[in-house]
Symmetry: none
Subunit: 133 residues, 4 copies
């Protein structure tokens, strides 16, 4: 049910390749289905502040078994989940956290990427998640 270290390392390798291909430097975090850390890499020169953001993106995606991009519209002022970020020691609800599923479609973990625009972060996270078979 949980992602293995080998799968997490494959996700990070794919994410690093995609990050380099689009000329970005990323912090990349992979957690298991229980939202516990499995693997992490900070590319040389990537923001230090993105370490924690990549953690919180991955954890948020695992905690709610959905991409963080799906939460973004729901957390705005006046919307149903406004200020949900105050829970769980701090959520990140903008794009860059992506749920990782196995062949059966079950969520076995999540990847969080931070270090560039949220569009780039999400693109790199998708590349990482896609590397897990």
């Amino acid at each position: 049910m949980n992602i293995t270290l080998a799968q997490a390392e494959a996700a990070i390798a794919a994410a690093k390749t995609k990050a380099a291909a689009i000329d970005t430097k990323m912090d990349i975090c992979v957690v298991d289905a229980g939202s516990n850390l499995v693997a992490f890499a900070r590319m040389d020169g990537a923001w230090i502040g993105s370490v924690d953001i990549s953690f919180k993106k991955a954890k948020t995606a695992a905690w709610f078994t959905m991409d963080t991009a799906a939460l973004s519209p729901l957390v705005q002022p006046g919307q149903p989940l406004y200020n949900i970020e105050h829970s769980n020691g701090g959520l990140i609800t903008f794009p860059g956290g992506v749920a990782i599923k196995n062949a059966a479609g079950e969520v076995i973990g999540a990847i969080g990427v931070s270090g560039s625009t949220v569009e780039n972060d999400h693109t790199v996270a998708e590349a990482g998640a896609a590397a897990v078979k």
Copy 2:
């Protein structure tokens, strides 16, 4: 790669001079490139609540190698980095945190200033950063 104490003290001295010149009382914090504290001064009568704000401004600027003023528009409701402040134990994303660069243009630390309007805070932080050669 990291700011020295002598450089940090020069930044604080210049910031204090500017703060006095514009009739303000400031909390002034300098961190290194790793976002670890190097020097701090609270001017007599400056707000106690600004101690932590100056810390978080300096750390935010170092964590993301940019002035906090550059983050302000991006963190508003509906914008890409909305509620990023929940990361890293608390960011401050309004003006007053300024990256400090060496002659080669590398970020070697950051200065955070709090105690007046954000415009004044930023002006004083700029004066401090400019004193580092």
Copy 3:
């Protein structure tokens, strides 16, 4: 009733001189009587982990208007204040925190020093406190 920034800077300057004289590299923190930060300096090469320890030594000394060395025997297993370190977000109860008094003998702040043996830390803190008239 409270230490001024000029007095705090004099304490840090004296502490730095003493630290250099005994061939140590120190983190030096000065707080006011309310335990709020006034000034700080980390000497080049001093431990990063001592930033927080110098803060907690200074705060502990100010919170209880006594040197941290006076607390050390009281916090041991079986002694009256065992595990008092769990209060106030974390105390440090070994030597290196020294109360700063004015000419009238009133506590106007405290200095915390960390970076070497606790004996050296205390010696440097004493030198800093003695510089405040």
Copy 4:
């Protein structure tokens, strides 16, 4: 002055090899000289509770530029650094955190290992640190 991601990944690979050789499952964390995370791996079946311990061991070693094993005798009841663990958001002061040095002998980061006995943790951390040239 700071460890690179390639060096950190080499350290983790060597630590994993050693961990497998002695039939253990480890959490392995590498931080840079500023104590900021660079890379992490949790071996399949390793304790979840060791994620944070490996972080704190690596950070403690980086913060004080020494192996955590060197701190263990100093933090016992009655000893000079008793209850230092209350600083820096929590230290780990038993073996398993090892400073990583470059060829010039400068500390460029640290590795923290947790998941077995402290002797095994230290052995695996040493193997990881030795892989960094």
